[in-house]
Protein backbone atom coordinates (compact mmCIF):
# COMPACT_ATOMS: atom_id res chain seq x y z
CA UNK A 1 0.00 0.00 0.00
CA UNK A 2 1.36 3.41 -0.94
CA UNK A 3 2.12 5.97 1.77
CA UNK A 4 -0.48 8.28 0.22
CA UNK A 5 -3.23 5.65 0.38
CA UNK A 6 -2.24 4.79 3.94
CA UNK A 7 -2.60 8.44 4.98
CA UNK A 8 -5.91 8.73 3.15
CA UNK A 9 -7.35 5.64 4.78
CA UNK A 10 -6.76 7.28 8.14
CA UNK A 11 -7.80 10.85 7.39
CA UNK A 12 -10.66 10.20 4.94
CA UNK A 13 -12.75 8.61 7.70
CA UNK A 14 -13.75 12.21 8.42
CA UNK A 15 -16.31 13.12 5.74
CA UNK A 16 -15.63 16.87 5.94
CA UNK A 17 -11.90 16.22 5.56
CA UNK A 18 -12.24 13.99 2.50
CA UNK A 19 -14.54 16.40 0.66
CA UNK A 20 -12.33 19.40 1.46
CA UNK A 21 -9.28 17.44 0.28
CA UNK A 22 -10.89 16.27 -2.98
CA UNK A 23 -12.29 19.73 -3.74
CA UNK A 24 -8.84 21.20 -3.25
CA UNK A 25 -7.35 18.55 -5.54
CA UNK A 26 -9.93 19.35 -8.22
CA UNK A 27 -9.02 23.05 -7.99
CA UNK A 28 -5.31 22.25 -8.34
CA UNK A 29 -5.97 19.87 -11.25
CA UNK A 30 -8.02 22.37 -13.23
CA UNK A 31 -5.61 25.25 -12.65
CA UNK A 32 -2.59 23.13 -13.61
CA UNK A 33 -4.28 21.65 -16.68
CA UNK A 34 -5.38 25.03 -18.06
CA UNK A 35 -1.84 26.37 -17.61
CA UNK A 36 -0.28 23.25 -19.16
CA UNK A 37 -2.57 23.19 -22.19
CA UNK A 38 -2.18 26.92 -22.75
CA UNK A 39 1.61 26.60 -22.69
CA UNK A 40 1.56 23.56 -24.99
CA UNK A 41 -0.54 25.55 -27.47
CA UNK A 42 2.07 28.34 -27.28
CA UNK A 43 -0.57 30.79 -26.13
CA UNK A 44 -0.13 33.74 -23.81
CA UNK A 45 -2.72 34.38 -21.12
CA UNK A 46 -3.94 37.33 -23.17
CA UNK A 47 -4.39 35.14 -26.27
CA UNK A 48 -6.32 32.49 -24.34
CA UNK A 49 -8.43 35.20 -22.74
CA UNK A 50 -9.30 36.67 -26.13
CA UNK A 51 -10.30 33.27 -27.54
CA UNK A 52 -12.36 32.48 -24.45
CA UNK A 53 -14.04 35.87 -24.41
CA UNK A 54 -12.64 36.98 -21.10
CA UNK A 55 -9.68 39.00 -19.84
CA UNK A 56 -6.10 38.20 -18.92
CA UNK A 57 -6.58 38.69 -15.20
CA UNK A 58 -9.37 36.11 -15.20
CA UNK A 59 -7.05 33.57 -16.85
CA UNK A 60 -4.42 34.36 -14.21
CA UNK A 61 -6.98 33.67 -11.48
CA UNK A 62 -8.08 30.40 -13.13
CA UNK A 63 -4.46 29.26 -13.30
CA UNK A 64 -4.02 29.69 -9.54
CA UNK A 65 -4.33 26.49 -7.48
CA UNK A 66 -6.23 28.44 -4.83
CA UNK A 67 -9.05 29.37 -7.22
CA UNK A 68 -12.37 27.70 -6.40
CA UNK A 69 -15.19 29.61 -8.09
CA UNK A 70 -15.45 27.46 -11.23
CA UNK A 71 -18.50 27.62 -13.46
CA UNK A 72 -19.34 25.07 -16.14
CA UNK A 73 -19.92 27.94 -18.57
CA UNK A 74 -16.40 29.31 -18.12
CA UNK A 75 -14.84 25.84 -18.32
CA UNK A 76 -16.68 25.18 -21.60
CA UNK A 77 -15.34 28.42 -23.05
CA UNK A 78 -11.80 27.57 -21.93
CA UNK A 79 -12.11 24.07 -23.43
CA UNK A 80 -13.22 25.48 -26.75
CA UNK A 81 -10.44 28.06 -26.75
CA UNK A 82 -7.91 25.27 -26.17
CA UNK A 83 -9.42 23.01 -28.83
CA UNK A 84 -10.34 20.25 -26.40
CA UNK A 85 -13.60 19.00 -24.90
CA UNK A 86 -14.83 19.40 -21.34
CA UNK A 87 -15.62 16.16 -19.53
CA UNK A 88 -17.40 16.26 -16.17
CA UNK A 89 -18.07 13.05 -14.27
CA UNK A 90 -18.75 11.80 -10.77
CA UNK A 91 -16.08 9.51 -9.34
CA UNK A 92 -15.55 7.28 -6.35
CA UNK A 93 -12.79 7.96 -3.83
CA UNK A 94 -10.83 4.81 -4.63
CA UNK A 95 -9.41 6.21 -7.86
CA UNK A 96 -8.08 9.35 -6.16
CA UNK A 97 -4.65 8.06 -5.01
CA UNK A 98 -3.81 7.02 -8.58
CA UNK A 99 -5.01 10.36 -9.95
CA UNK A 100 -2.76 12.17 -7.49
CA UNK A 101 0.19 9.90 -8.24
CA UNK A 102 -0.32 10.68 -11.94
CA UNK A 103 -0.42 14.41 -11.33
CA UNK A 104 2.36 15.18 -13.79
CA UNK A 105 2.59 17.45 -16.78
CA UNK A 106 2.42 14.78 -19.47
CA UNK A 107 -0.66 13.24 -17.87
CA UNK A 108 -2.48 16.57 -18.11
CA UNK A 109 -1.84 17.03 -21.82
CA UNK A 110 -4.62 16.62 -24.37
CA UNK A 111 -4.32 17.16 -28.08
CA UNK A 112 -6.43 19.89 -29.66
CA UNK A 113 -8.84 18.68 -32.32
CA UNK A 114 -6.72 19.85 -35.26
CA UNK A 115 -3.74 17.78 -34.06
CA UNK A 116 -5.69 14.76 -32.87
CA UNK A 117 -4.65 11.71 -34.92
CA UNK A 118 -8.10 10.16 -34.45
CA UNK A 119 -9.55 12.89 -36.64
CA UNK A 120 -6.78 13.23 -39.19
CA UNK A 121 -7.87 12.34 -42.74
CA UNK A 122 -4.88 10.01 -42.97
CA UNK A 123 -2.73 8.55 -40.25
CA UNK A 124 -0.18 11.29 -39.58
CA UNK A 125 3.37 10.56 -40.55
CA UNK A 126 5.24 10.66 -37.31
CA UNK A 127 8.67 9.13 -36.96
CA UNK A 128 8.49 9.76 -33.23
CA UNK A 129 5.30 7.77 -32.78
CA UNK A 130 6.73 5.00 -34.95
CA UNK A 131 9.81 5.05 -32.70
CA UNK A 132 7.52 4.85 -29.68
CA UNK A 133 5.89 1.74 -31.12
CA UNK A 134 9.30 0.19 -31.75
CA UNK A 135 10.79 1.11 -28.39
CA UNK A 136 7.77 -0.03 -26.37
CA UNK A 137 7.24 -3.04 -28.62
CA UNK A 138 3.60 -2.21 -29.05
CA UNK A 139 1.57 -2.13 -32.27
CA UNK A 140 1.70 1.16 -34.09
CA UNK A 141 -2.08 1.55 -33.79
CA UNK A 142 -1.81 1.28 -30.02
CA UNK A 143 0.98 3.83 -29.99
CA UNK A 144 -1.34 6.22 -31.82
CA UNK A 145 -4.15 5.49 -29.37
CA UNK A 146 -1.93 6.14 -26.39
CA UNK A 147 -0.80 9.33 -28.00
CA UNK A 148 -4.38 10.46 -28.58
CA UNK A 149 -5.36 9.63 -25.01
CA UNK A 150 -2.48 11.63 -23.59
CA UNK A 151 -1.02 8.53 -21.93
CA UNK A 152 2.28 9.14 -23.60
CA UNK A 153 3.26 12.60 -24.62
CA UNK A 154 5.06 12.97 -27.90
CA UNK A 155 5.45 16.48 -29.17
CA UNK A 156 3.81 16.32 -32.58
CA UNK A 157 4.17 20.03 -33.17
CA UNK A 158 7.94 19.92 -33.50
CA UNK A 159 8.32 17.28 -36.17
Amino acid sequence: MSQLLKQMRESFVDEEYRYAYTESFMNSYLAAQIKTLREENHMSRAELAKKAGTNKSTISRLENVGYSFWTVGMLKRIARALGVRLKISFEGFGSLPREIDNFQREALLRLPFDRDPAFASEAPSSPRMDALALQKEIPQAEAYDRFALGQVYVDATRQ
Binding site: S24, S28, A31, N102, Q104, A131
Partner: protein, 138 residues
Protein backbone atom coordinates in the same frame (compact mmCIF):
# COMPACT_ATOMS: atom_id res chain seq x y z
CA UNK B 1 11.06 10.48 -29.26
CA UNK B 2 10.44 13.22 -26.76
CA UNK B 3 8.96 12.08 -23.46
CA UNK B 4 8.89 14.64 -20.69
CA UNK B 5 9.95 13.19 -17.35
CA UNK B 6 8.72 14.87 -14.19
CA UNK B 7 11.10 15.56 -11.35
CA UNK B 8 9.97 14.04 -8.06
CA UNK B 9 9.75 16.80 -5.45
CA UNK B 10 9.79 16.32 -1.71
CA UNK B 11 8.24 18.43 1.03
CA UNK B 12 9.89 18.39 4.44
CA UNK B 13 8.84 19.91 7.78
CA UNK B 14 11.26 21.38 10.30
CA UNK B 15 11.45 19.45 13.58
CA UNK B 16 11.57 21.36 16.88
CA UNK B 17 14.12 20.64 19.61
CA UNK B 18 11.36 18.56 21.29
CA UNK B 19 11.23 16.37 18.18
CA UNK B 20 7.85 17.67 16.99
CA UNK B 21 6.86 18.60 13.47
CA UNK B 22 6.68 22.40 13.66
CA UNK B 23 3.81 22.63 11.18
CA UNK B 24 1.67 19.99 12.89
CA UNK B 25 2.34 21.68 16.22
CA UNK B 26 1.37 25.08 14.80
CA UNK B 27 -1.85 23.74 13.21
CA UNK B 28 -2.82 22.18 16.53
CA UNK B 29 -1.95 25.29 18.55
CA UNK B 30 -3.90 27.56 16.18
CA UNK B 31 -6.84 25.13 16.23
CA UNK B 32 -6.94 25.16 12.44
CA UNK B 33 -10.12 23.35 11.29
CA UNK B 34 -9.66 19.87 9.84
CA UNK B 35 -11.12 20.98 6.51
CA UNK B 36 -8.40 23.61 6.22
CA UNK B 37 -5.74 21.03 7.13
CA UNK B 38 -7.20 18.86 4.34
CA UNK B 39 -6.73 21.65 1.81
CA UNK B 40 -3.16 22.19 3.04
CA UNK B 41 -2.29 18.48 2.81
CA UNK B 42 -3.84 18.25 -0.66
CA UNK B 43 -1.65 21.10 -1.91
CA UNK B 44 1.47 19.42 -0.47
CA UNK B 45 0.57 16.06 -2.06
CA UNK B 46 0.10 17.60 -5.51
CA UNK B 47 3.24 19.71 -5.13
CA UNK B 48 5.27 16.54 -4.46
CA UNK B 49 4.02 15.03 -7.74
CA UNK B 50 4.06 18.04 -10.04
CA UNK B 51 6.48 20.50 -8.46
CA UNK B 52 6.13 24.28 -8.75
CA UNK B 53 5.23 24.09 -12.46
CA UNK B 54 1.93 22.37 -11.67
CA UNK B 55 1.20 24.36 -8.53
CA UNK B 56 0.87 27.87 -9.96
CA UNK B 57 0.23 30.46 -7.28
CA UNK B 58 1.02 28.14 -4.37
CA UNK B 59 4.39 29.64 -3.46
CA UNK B 60 5.30 33.33 -3.64
CA UNK B 61 7.18 34.07 -6.85
CA UNK B 62 9.94 35.83 -4.96
CA UNK B 63 11.40 35.60 -1.46
CA UNK B 64 9.56 37.40 1.36
CA UNK B 65 12.82 37.54 3.35
CA UNK B 66 16.32 36.28 2.63
CA UNK B 67 15.98 32.61 1.51
CA UNK B 68 12.37 32.51 2.73
CA UNK B 69 9.22 32.07 0.62
CA UNK B 70 5.56 32.12 1.53
CA UNK B 71 3.10 29.36 0.74
CA UNK B 72 -0.46 30.55 0.13
CA UNK B 73 -3.28 28.25 1.24
CA UNK B 74 -6.58 29.93 0.62
CA UNK B 75 -9.15 29.69 3.40
CA UNK B 76 -11.59 26.83 2.78
CA UNK B 77 -15.12 28.29 2.94
CA UNK B 78 -13.99 31.42 4.75
CA UNK B 79 -11.56 29.76 7.14
CA UNK B 80 -8.21 31.21 8.12
CA UNK B 81 -5.63 31.89 5.37
CA UNK B 82 -2.59 29.71 6.06
CA UNK B 83 0.77 31.19 5.11
CA UNK B 84 3.51 28.73 6.11
CA UNK B 85 7.06 29.96 5.57
CA UNK B 86 9.50 27.77 3.67
CA UNK B 87 12.81 27.61 1.90
CA UNK B 88 13.82 25.76 -1.24
CA UNK B 89 16.22 22.96 -0.41
CA UNK B 90 18.31 23.62 1.53
CA UNK B 91 20.10 20.37 0.59
CA UNK B 92 18.62 19.29 -2.74
CA UNK B 93 17.30 20.81 -5.94
CA UNK B 94 13.80 19.32 -5.90
CA UNK B 95 12.75 19.89 -2.33
CA UNK B 96 11.23 22.49 -0.06
CA UNK B 97 11.25 22.66 3.73
CA UNK B 98 8.42 24.21 5.73
CA UNK B 99 10.05 26.20 8.51
CA UNK B 100 7.39 28.14 10.40
CA UNK B 101 3.65 28.63 10.51
CA UNK B 102 1.81 31.89 9.93
CA UNK B 103 -1.66 33.07 9.08
CA UNK B 104 -2.75 36.15 7.19
CA UNK B 105 -5.43 38.51 8.48
CA UNK B 106 -6.14 41.84 6.83
CA UNK B 107 -2.93 41.69 4.76
CA UNK B 108 -0.88 41.18 7.96
CA UNK B 109 1.06 38.05 8.80
CA UNK B 110 0.63 36.61 12.28
CA UNK B 111 2.98 36.20 14.06
CA UNK B 112 4.95 39.15 12.74
CA UNK B 113 8.12 37.27 13.71
CA UNK B 114 7.44 34.49 11.18
CA UNK B 115 10.21 35.60 8.79
CA UNK B 116 12.90 35.67 11.47
CA UNK B 117 11.64 32.41 12.98
CA UNK B 118 11.84 30.76 9.56
CA UNK B 119 15.34 32.11 8.97
CA UNK B 120 16.52 30.91 12.39
CA UNK B 121 15.07 27.46 11.78
CA UNK B 122 16.72 27.31 8.39
CA UNK B 123 20.07 28.13 9.98
CA UNK B 124 19.54 25.37 12.57
CA UNK B 125 18.59 22.94 9.81
CA UNK B 126 21.63 23.71 7.68
CA UNK B 127 23.84 22.93 10.70
CA UNK B 128 21.84 19.82 11.56
CA UNK B 129 20.22 18.14 8.53
CA UNK B 130 18.37 15.62 10.72
CA UNK B 131 16.05 18.37 11.98
CA UNK B 132 13.42 17.77 9.31
CA UNK B 133 11.07 15.01 8.20
CA UNK B 134 9.13 14.18 5.04
CA UNK B 135 5.69 13.45 6.49
CA UNK B 136 2.05 14.45 6.34
CA UNK B 137 0.90 17.58 8.18
CA UNK B 138 -2.57 16.12 8.79
Amino acid sequence: MLVMMALQWQVFCFITHRGENIIREWLRKEKVPRTQVAVFQSKLDTFERGGPDLSPGLISSGPVAKDIYKMKIKGHKGHVQLRPMLCYGPFGDAEITLLAGAIEKGFKLIPSTCFSEAQENRTILVANPSRRRNESVA
